[in-house]
């Protein structure tokens, strides 16, 4: 037997280049079709749950499971995110030290625009999520960035979502670079990771409404429309990027960083999948 310690370090990675070249057709930049993907996902869920109207998917698992829907509807009478929206409104309307405010950074003064995010920003060559735009606005005006996962950024995002309720999601893919980001997000969604070797799709496509311990995973269709979310488990409001990290840890995978390129592309893909559905954030979930 050879002593192959030398292989441990780099050699196994040498294969990486050749393998990534061999991507299967239909999922390359040339052949990926976001609209076809979106329609295919809708058909999947309509076949699986024929009684559920498309519009209801914004309510996640509560569109599919009547027992938890009853509890959720009662919670929504006094939504736990109510106070956060109020605080978010105050934060949104408080001027920066230089006199400017968030309204100066966003179209329509930042009101009723949630449905346009994430957006492909050509000038930056990347996907910009709403929270990224919020922090970019802060930095452009001499303020410090807010943390990505909870607290003030979630409250501001919640207020902005709230003003956009019932607006129809309309994420655009204007060019090939944006399409590449979409494809990257799509790949992330369907890729197994972590020690438990699970992908987002395992729980949220095939495994939607299939009991995993005491929980029912929500459907991938309409998955992101209600963010940011007041999660009972957290006892507070958190962003979608926060939830991504949590889910990755749940499958025992080292989480990717909030607002990293991979996770922004994932959010881009997921939101595109919800095009045609309405904004209903912020939301309350178990």
């Amino acid at each position: 037997m050879k002593i192959i310690k030398s292989l441990l370090a780099g050699a196994s990675l040498a294969l990486v280049a050749s393998i990534t070249q061999a991507a299967t057709s239909g999922n390359t930049l040339a052949s990926v079709d976001p609209e076809a993907d979106r329609i295919a996902l809708q058909s999947f869920f309509q076949k699986r749950f024929p009684q559920v109207p498309l519009d209801d998917y914004v309510n996640g698992i509560y569109a599919l499971d009547s027992g938890s829907r009853e509890q959720w509807e009662e919670i929504e009478e006094f939504p736990p995110y109510e106070f956060d929206v109020e605080e978010g409104e105050v934060l949104f309307n408080t001027a920066f030290a230089n006199g400017k405010s968030y309204a100066d950074c966003f179209a329509n003064g930042g009101v009723g625009i949630r449905q346009n995010f994430p957006r492909w920003e050509d000038s930056q060559g990347k996907v910009v999520t709403l929270e990224l735009a919020i922090n970019q606005c802060r930095e452009a005006n001499g303020e410090k960035k807010l943390g990505w996962k909870k607290g003030k950024i979630a409250q501001i995002s919640a207020y902005m979502a709230y003003t956009s309720r019932d607006n129809v999601f309309d994420v655009q893919i204007p060019n090939d670079e944006a399409k590449a980001a979409y494809l990257d997000g799509k790949q992330s969604f369907y890729t197994r990771r972590g020690q438990l070797n699970m992908s987002c799709a395992n729980c949220h496509v095939a495994g939607s409404k299939v009991l995993i311990r005491a929980d029912l995973p929500g459907p991938a269709l309409g998955h992101v429309t209600h963010f940011p979310v007041f999660r009972s488990k957290w006892g507070n409001l958190g962003t979608l990027q926060r939830r991504y990290g949590g889910c990755q840890k749940n499958v025992r995978g080292v989480p990717q960083k909030a607002q990293s390129e991979k996770l922004r592309n994932l959010e881009f893909f997921q939101t595109y999948m919800s095009n045609g559905l309405v904004v209903n954030g912020p939301g309350a979930r178990k």
């Binding site: 009662e74 009478e77 006094f78 736990p80 109510e82 106070f83 006892g235």
Partner: protein
């Protein structure tokens, strides 16, 4: 007038009235520690009583076992649309207040 800490919804349903209240309150037990290791002082709602026409319709002793932003819901016999409920709360610190809610 300062906004109270109680958000209430009261609905007349036949002979009964259904009441739902959410209190905006940290409900600090006094056992949590802040970043520097100091205990955060206890600050929690001790009692929350609701009365209608001078009569108590619900009495609660909350305390440290109740978590942040407590939510209570109850039904009482009586009550009519347009009437008012008196909700009085007291805190361990001694603070207290009475807020009102209209039955719809």
């Amino acid at each position: 007038m300062a906004k109270g800490i109680l958000r209430a919804k009261a609905k007349a349903k036949g002979d009964n009235t259904v009441v739902k209240i959410m209190a905006k309150h940290a409900m600090e037990t006094g056992n949590r520690k802040d970043k520097s290791g100091q205990k955060i002082p206890a600050k929690f709602i001790q009692t929350l009583n609701v009365s209608y026409n001078g009569k108590t319709v619900m009495e609660t002793n909350l305390g440290t076992a109740i978590s942040k932003n407590p939510y209570l819901a109850f039904t009482f016999v009586g009550g009519a649309k347009g009437d008012e409920l008196q909700m009085t709360w007291t805190e361990n610190t001694g603070a207290s207040a009475t807020e009102t809610a209209k039955i719809k």
